[in-house]
């Protein structure tokens, strides 16, 4: 049984530590906020210029001037601060954000990430993704292990234009979780989704990864 979207989000949430400042990407990464463990105090940052994101507002409390980077209406918390986009990216590019969770189209075995454009299709633009991967200290990627046509997305080298070179620290797919201890090292297999065999994983993965000796 592959992991569901919610299980992917919960696995990423387990990487959040008490006191972390975290930026969550659009899509499945946004769900991570729902699975932060009790007792773990995390402050979410949004690159348009807000630190301390609250939940969606009640219908009668929607404020057009309080939005997140996905342009969704949200709310303030006691700790919330607002600032310019340039201060926001000083937080991101200056290494002040502990961790970011992003989606991906492809990840390569050397940590390259592609998640912003498919040549020949309409390109919407990188938004803040290139800044996030170059500046945030730890990058977790959540994605489906294979594309809709079955082709592998964890590759020897990305075929799509890069968002960043050598930037991914943790990769969680619906089939398995991979990590690397530092940006010089290859990815190591950490866990398989229930019922997924190592043989099956290898058959749908193009990238080289290490299977620890004691892996079971």
């Amino acid at each position: 049984m592959p992991w569901t979207r919610e299980e992917l989000a919960a696995r990423a949430a387990a990487e959040l530590k008490d006191g972390y400042y975290v930026n969550l990407g659009i899509g499945i990464p946004t769900l991570v906020a729902n699975y932060i463990a009790p007792g773990v105090d995390v402050t979410l940052q949004s690159e348009n210029g807000m630190l301390g994101l609250g939940p969606f507002p009640a219908a009668d409390a929607v404020d057009a001037d309080i939005i997140n980077a996905g342009k969704q209406t949200i709310t303030e918390l006691d700790r919330t601060s607002y600032f310019s986009s340039s201060d926001s990216f000083a937080m991101i590019r200056g290494g002040h954000i502990n961790l970011s969770v992003l989606g991906a189209m492809e990840v390569a075995e050397n940590g390259d990430l592609a998640n912003w454009m498919v040549p020949g299709r309409m390109v919407k633009g990188p938004g803040g993704a290139m800044d996030l991967v170059s500046g945030v200290r730890r990058i977790i990627v959540l994605m489906d292990h294979c594309a809709k046509d079955g082709s592998p997305k964890f590759r020897k080298a990305c075929t799509l234009p890069l968002t960043g070179a050598d930037v991914v620290d943790v990769l969680i797919t619906d089939l398995a979780q991979f990590e690397r201890p530092d940006r010089e090292s290859p990815f190591h297999l950490v866990e398989l989704a229930p019922g997924v065999t190592l043989e099956h994983l290898k058959s749908v993965t193009e990238a080289h990864f290490i299977v620890p000796e004691n892996f079971k």
């Binding site: 807000m50 057009a64 309080i66 310019s84 340039s86 990216f89 590019r93 633009g125 800044d131």
Partner: protein, 235 residues
């Protein structure tokens, strides 16, 4: 004192608009955009514009109305995903697009306004964004050179402004507005409320009046919401 307060959009933009000019606009998505001044630029019929703005509005609102009227030749933006007319013009080659990562865009505008012609950043190194740009290693990492941006005209939206041009923004509507206010040869601000000089606590002013040349009371404050998301109420 010089009077920065103008009666309305047409008088505030009088003498500033010309074909082929570069205009920088504050705002993120549809939040904190200078709606009144965009309307006036649309009405003026000025053409061949280069627009510096994080986003391109939607089809019938924000900078999208300038695109729809074919007033735009080029956009310098980080994300343009919400605009069908933009997509059509771009794919047909009518519109030029310079993608700039969002933080790089914020910093290019900040640098331009601060008189810094260029800077190095790791953002975009070894990606398509780096093509044609100088690469240099700092601390063992590749960085690319990005240039500062200046505009013939900068337009911003603030919550409150005093008659000296001091501005206060509201919540996440601040976004790109403070940097954009610094990068214009001329900067025009529209505000939801004009207050007398001395009303602001000097410690709480976000944009000092030196950056603002002209000020109007905004008459278009629709503040459209792009994605209205609400909490599910439990009965």
């Amino acid at each position: 004192m010089a009077n920065k307060l103008y009666d309305d959009g047409p008088t505030a933009l009088a003498g500033l608009l010309f074909d082929g000019m570069t205009i920088a606009s504050g705002g993120f998505g549809l939040c904190g955009i200078p709606e009144t001044l965009i309307d006036e630029i649309n009405r003026s019929g000025v053409r061949e514009l280069t627009l510096i703005s994080n986003n391109a509005g939607v089809d019938d609102f924000g900078l999208g109305i300038l695109l729809k009227a074919r007033q735009v030749r080029k956009m310098i933006s980080s994300y343009v995903g919400e605009n069908k007319e933009f997509e059509r013009q771009f794919l047909s080659g009518e519109l030029e697009l310079e993608f700039t990562p969002q933080g790089t865009l914020a910093e290019r505008i900040r640098a331009g306004g601060a008189g810094i012609p260029a800077f190095y950043t790791a953002t975009g190194a070894r990606t398509m964004v780096a093509e044609g740009k100088e690469e240099r290693m700092f601390d063992g990492r590749p960085h690319i050179m990005e240039t500062g941006l200046r505009a013939d005209l900068a337009i911003v939206k603030a919550w409150k402004g005093d008659t000296h041009g001091n501005l206060v923004f509201r919540k996440s509507a601040r976004n790109f507005n403070p940097m954009v206010a610094t990068c214009g040869k001329v900067t025009v601000a529209e505000v939801e409320e004009i207050v007398p000089v001395g009303s602001f606590d000097p410690d709480q002013i976000h944009t000092p009046g030196i950056f603002v040349d002209r000020l109007i009371l905004a008459t278009h404050n629709e503040k459209r919401i792009e994605k209205r998301t609400v909490r599910e109420e439990t009965a």
